[in-house]
Amino acid sequence: MQILSYIGRRLIFVAPQLVGILLVTFLLLKLIPGDPAVMMLGPFATDEGLARLRTELGLDHSIIKQFGIYLWRVIHWDLGTSWQTTMPVTSDLAQRFPATLELVTLSLLLALSIGMPLGVIGARSKNGIIRKLVEYYGLAAGSLPDFWFGLVLIFIFYTILGVVPAPLGRIDFTIIPPPEVTGSLLIDSVISGNWLALRNALGHLILPVLTLGLINAAPILKMTMSTMDRMLEADFSRYAEMCGLPDRVVARKALRNSLPSVITIVSVLYGFLIGGAVLVEIVFSWGGAGQYAVQGVLNADLNPVLGFVLYSAILSLVIYLIVDLIYFAIDPRTR
């Protein structure tokens, strides 16, 4: 019940924020030079054609009214059309968002499975050489520009060693992708039992996931280590030691108590990577949502950007809700 009221409160705050985000994006993008009508019609546009299209697009209204119209459409889940792809933004995003989500989710899972154990190991071996190594890993990985690191991985594992598929999207051309259910190639392949597609999609995921995973392990590692440090010094850990509990049990307790911080940093990273993975998406021709949005900004294609911002805002909202639910699950004090 507490959860429900909490979620309700949260949602009340979210609606105005969403409108605010949309408004800022809208105004910002309106300021970008470039007339969408001209771009859509291309070189053969006639003046009448342009005028007609501007009317169709509502470009002849005042900005406020345009925004009102936009909001009205958003409420009806009509995010307009991208002039670049000539497709409705909703269907474009329905294709691209799962691609980004799959990449980001797997990368963060990898980052977690690297960062958390290393953080725990680092925290447990205080002042040891292992801790030094772990600290250096955190600093070094945190310093790598992901787009460059991706290139290095491509160069090593594709160009030189040839052990991974070409960095060209999510699945080979020759492979028939599974019918779309969730949009995640992995899940869809499993659902349809298409193991060939599954293997192939996994192959394509290796490098981008490795790129993002290894780099984003750094913040997770740092957060885990510093929180573990605190938790291992906390009263309950001292008490557990006094009770003669084995070190690993003490560490496990400390880890459990560190989880909220770790989950928080993961959720922050998640929100960041939805748009921030765009560089890696470009390097691997991933065709994700970030790429779509950036292309929209660069080409004055308003609707994809607005759609993307809206999607990621909603996604962040969902993530934060999930995080809260996890908090509820692991910390009895919140119940």
């Binding site: 800022v24 994006t25 520009p145 939805i274 950036v294 900004v297 660069l298 950007v305």
Partner: protein, 329 residues
Amino acid sequence: MTSQPQGVPTLQAAPEEAGRPSASGSWWFFLAVLRARPQFALGYGIVLLIILLAIFAPLIAPFDPQQANPSAFLQPPGWPYLMGTDATGLDIFSRVIYAPRIDLAIALAGTLVSAVFGSIFGSIAGYYETKRGLGTLVSGFIMRSSDVIQAFPVFVFAIAVVAVLGQSLQSIILAVAFVNAPIYLRLMRSQVLSVRRLRYVEAAYIAGTSDLGILARHVIPNAMAPVLAQLSVNIGWAILLTSALSFIGAGVEAPTPEWGSMIAMGYQNIITGHWWPSIFPGLALALTIFGFSLVGASVEVLADPVRRGRLAGEVRQRRGANVAPAGQV
């Protein structure tokens, strides 16, 4: 409990007490810290090197970083092209050492602008947070705006800023500043909120000092330290953002030597085996960010009284009791 003996300092606390660095000899202390923490020394070394390279690039660079020599395109690393040449025959090495001029300048300027404006708005928001009437409105508006900025996908937002303002140095700086400002805003606000509760600030308020006077004289100077610490941590990330913007084509324009745009220019060649045009600038970029994050880590430690204390203790311990002037602690 009826009565308890009081006023005895705890022995457990003693070691930390002892670790307070002396006000004198802070330079000596800094050097000692570098000796005790070689990674910090490494960080300062890298940053210093990069800065020196940027300053003396014209003296060091064997070639003009923007003078294409198409008859020597895509030369592999060797002599005289230490890091090879790119597709237009630009010397990679010269460009790599020229690049920090622009990267550092943008990152520094962007971070400073965001720190200044973020701090100003943060102070205002923090100061008026507890006031009634217009104050709450102002502070609420500032915080909500910052929420909105933070809710944006950072990267898309930065590109949009550049797209709106047109591609120029100023707009990249502004983009960097824009996405970073909320960090300082929140930091400053929380600092101001905590400083405000200090007694002497309350006293000044009661004494009738004006709002602005209190902010300027008492609150801001006190809250500045963590902002400065954040600044050094932030620069590495600002460099990363700058180069990422350039990589995507929304940043520094070719052929201005800049790491991100160099990586982008060389990126298509990687698949045909010409790795050097993009690997070397990336390496320099990573090294620089690494250096700055080490410096940032050291500043974080030095700005935190508790951690600085521990470090100081360690430093003195290493130095050995016999070297320490008697009675220093």
